[in-house]
């Protein structure tokens, strides 16, 4: 069987080429169209971006200078920054307030050093005196030259007692709290409303001067015609940054008369239940037995099984951040012919003890304790420097 193609070869070739040409044309058209499409899209995006940029320029000009070369800005842009009245002064005040907050948070109370020394320097039969003390706040170091007298004639006992004292000393701080009937919550009592005192048994109390300026009473007292002191609502709450000692003051909410009264608030608790006892207003000293009362909220004291855990507290808030560095200790006769010990010490202190923002610091040693901010009458702890003729 034969098949005869009636189409000549040249015709077939022509048809093939024409089909190929059409295909190439089609592909070309598609490619050109795609290119054009891509160009249109790119032009469109670029154009859109140009419009957006122009709009942004307008908004920036209106928000910053409030003027445009082409016309006025609309009210939708608000008052322009450069046209805002007193803008620089207002921002300066804001900057000052921000800086003051940071400065107050980092403020150091060097006066606490006397209370600390009172606790860490042994007294009695192992008495230690300081002749020269250097306080380096940047490095949190107390370094001093000291001399010691031991009544039993063993001078190094005093040094040993001192070393044990500092290593076992810890601190505590926190806030005195009062129950606020209006908010049904316990609120901090400003530290300037409190004076601390310690009784013979070592129980620490805070005396809350209720009704004094800023102590549930406004900072400014107003006298009535009858001579009574009344208080009125202070609506300004934005001023809490500054007060007498830089701490936040409590906002007053109602017009009221606050009777002046000193309230004794117990700070030392032997157990958690002991604290709850006072918190719930069962302290006879508050004179308000039966209602929610006053208590001290400690940030350092730790309780284990409901009882004060001194070891855990010492670990949480040690007075020293590192071991004490004792050097140059020597025992010999001084200029008076009496045997005395002299030594130098560098104590790396825990910075928290000196921070003013940590209120009501109490330093507790193995044998003594002190409420540093209320330690005013300083005991004899400074003495003449040991004379040079102390021998080895």
């Amino acid at each position: 069987m034969y098949e005869i193609s009636l189409v000549p070869d040249v015709k077939a070739e022509l048809l093939r080429k024409l089909r190929m040409r059409n295909l190439v044309y089609l592909i070309c058209v598609v490619v050109v169209a795609a290119c054009a499409g891509i160009f249109v899209i790119l032009f469109g995006v670029t154009g859109g971006q140009g419009i957006k940029l122009a709009a942004q320029d307008t908004e920036i000009a209106c928000r910053s200078d409030g003027t445009l070369k082409s016309g006025n800005c609309g009210s939708q842009y608000g008052t322009a920054v450069m046209k805002f009245k007193n803008a620089e002064e207002l921002l300066t005040i804001q900057d000052q307030m921000k800086n003051l907050a940071t400065l107050n948070n980092n403020k150091i109370k060097i006066s606490r050093v006397f209370g600390i020394l009172d606790v860490i320097l042994p007294v009695g039969e192992n008495h230690v005196w300081i002749s020269e003390l250097n306080v380096d706040i940047d490095n949190n170091t107390l370094s001093f030259d000291a001399s010691a007298m031991a009544s039993n004639g063993i001078g190094f006992r005093a040094l040993e007692a001192f070393k044990k004292n500092v290593e076992r000393s810890y601190y505590d701080y926190g806030n005195y709290m009062r129950y606020d009937k209006d908010t049904d919550e316990y609120v901090e009592i400003p530290s300037y409303c409190i004076d601390e005192t310690m009784d013979k048994n070592g129980i620490v109390y805070g005396i809350y001067h209720k009704g004094a300026k800023g102590c549930e009473a406004p900072m400014v007292e107003k006298k009535t015609a009858s001579g009574e002191t009344t208080t009125e609502e202070d609506e300004n709450s934005g001023d809490a940054e500054l007060s007498v000692d830089g701490e936040d003051a409590e906002p007053e909410t109602t017009e009221t008369t606050v009777a002046k009264e000193d309230i004794k608030i117990r700070r030392t608790y032997l157990s958690e239940s002991d604290m709850e006892h006072y918190r719930n207003g069962n302290d006879d000293l508050t004179k308000e037995a039966g209602i929610k009362g006053y208590y001290f909220e400690s940030n350092c004291l730790k309780y284990t099984d409901g009882k004060l855990d001194e070891a855990a507290t010492l670990e949480a808030c040690p007075l020293l951040s590192d071991a004490p560095n004792i050097g140059d200790s020597s025992y010999g006769k001084n200029a008076d012919g009496r045997l005395a010990l002299s030594f130098s010490a560098a104590l790396p202190m825990n910075r928290e003890v000196f921070l003013s923002s940590n209120k009501h610091i109490r330093v507790i040693g193995p044998s003594r304790q002190n409420v540093t901010d209320s330690y005013i009458q300083i005991r004899d702890m400074f003495d003449e420097a040991p004379k040079e003729d102390i021998g080895e």
Binding site: R21, Q49, V81, T92, T102, S243, G246, F382
Partner: protein, 280 residues
């Protein structure tokens, strides 16, 4: 063309003309295809180059738009902050609590001036308000200018409040570095040192007064040493007396100046032009 005639065509002389015409058409088709492919190649080339260029332009524009969006957001924040600061400052200027800790108001601040300060739109003259209203506490606590004499005068005043300044040995300016603190600070230090020689309790009281000041005097270092006291006959009294030499750091914060800044946005952040590096 004749060279490309097939043997069959040569044999068949009758179809020779028709065949030539067809071959001519085939040639034309091939030529057209070539031209079309060339044109499309040019288009493709242009599209490729243009596309890359536009892509770069678009990427750069996107970067600029994003930065400008941030600037606009920043401006919006500043505007709303200024409004709220204005309201807060206006409130603070009336604050009785601030007034309670402020120094005595200048006699230049008359009732008329005070009444003219506040308006519905906030404080009319903040600079004057910083002198006459409770706001005067703020520059007292943190001045906006370096003034060492005023700083030393403040320190002197504080020490005078304790024991009438009886223990003051010396007060002077000093060089101190900037403190490292937690939190952002935009302050500069003013150094001051003083020397006190007094009973330990009085020295402690003086320190306490300095620490309670609304103006921050931060202790940098202190040296406390025992000093002997003598009676008129030159005999030691045995009374405890200490000498304290304290180095303090007070602060001032320069006033805020609003100024516009420009920011360079680079298409290629790593390019030498952008980074400022010089070519080796």
């Amino acid at each position: 063309m004749a060279n490309r005639a097939t043997p069959k065509q040569k044999k068949n002389g009758r179809g020779k003309g028709v065949a030539f015409a067809k071959w001519a058409k085939i040639d034309k088709a091939q030529r057209n295809m070539l031209v079309a492919v060339c044109i499309v190649s040019v288009f493709l080339g242009i599209t490729l180059v243009g596309g890359i260029y536009f892509a770069k332009v678009i990427a750069f524009n996107a970067k600029v738009i994003s930065e400008k969006d941030k600037i606009i957001a920043n401006y919006k924040t500043i505007q709303s902050s200024l409004n709220s600061i204005s309201a807060q400052v206006s409130e603070m200027s009336q604050s009785e609590r601030l007034e309670a800790v402020a120094r005595t108001r200048s006699t230049d601040c008359t009732e008329e001036i005070m009444e003219g300060l506040a308006s519905e739109n906030g404080i009319e003259d903040v600079e004057l308000a910083r002198t006459c209203t409770a706001l005067r506490v703020i520059p007292d606590a943190l001045p906006s200018k370096l003034n060492q004499e005023a700083t030393l005068a403040s320190l002197n005043q504080l020490l005078n409040w304790s024991n009438g300044g009886a223990g003051i040995e010396s007060i002077s300016g000093a060089d101190v570095g900037v403190a490292e603190m937690d939190g952002d600070l935009t302050v500069s230090p003013i150094g001051a040192s003083f020397s006190l020689s007094d009973d330990a309790s009085n020295v402690r009281k003086s320190l306490d007064i300095v620490e309670r000041s609304i103006r921050n005097f931060d202790i940098v270092s202190a040296n406390i040493s025992w000093v002997d006291t003598y009676d008129e006959k030159g005999n030691s009294t045995g009374k405890q007396r200490i000498e304290l030499v304290g180095l303090y750091r007070a602060y001032y914060a320069n006033g805020v100046k609003i100024e516009k800044k420009s920011k360079k946005i680079c298409a290629d952040d790593t390019s030498d032009k952008c980074t400022g590096r010089k070519k080796k």
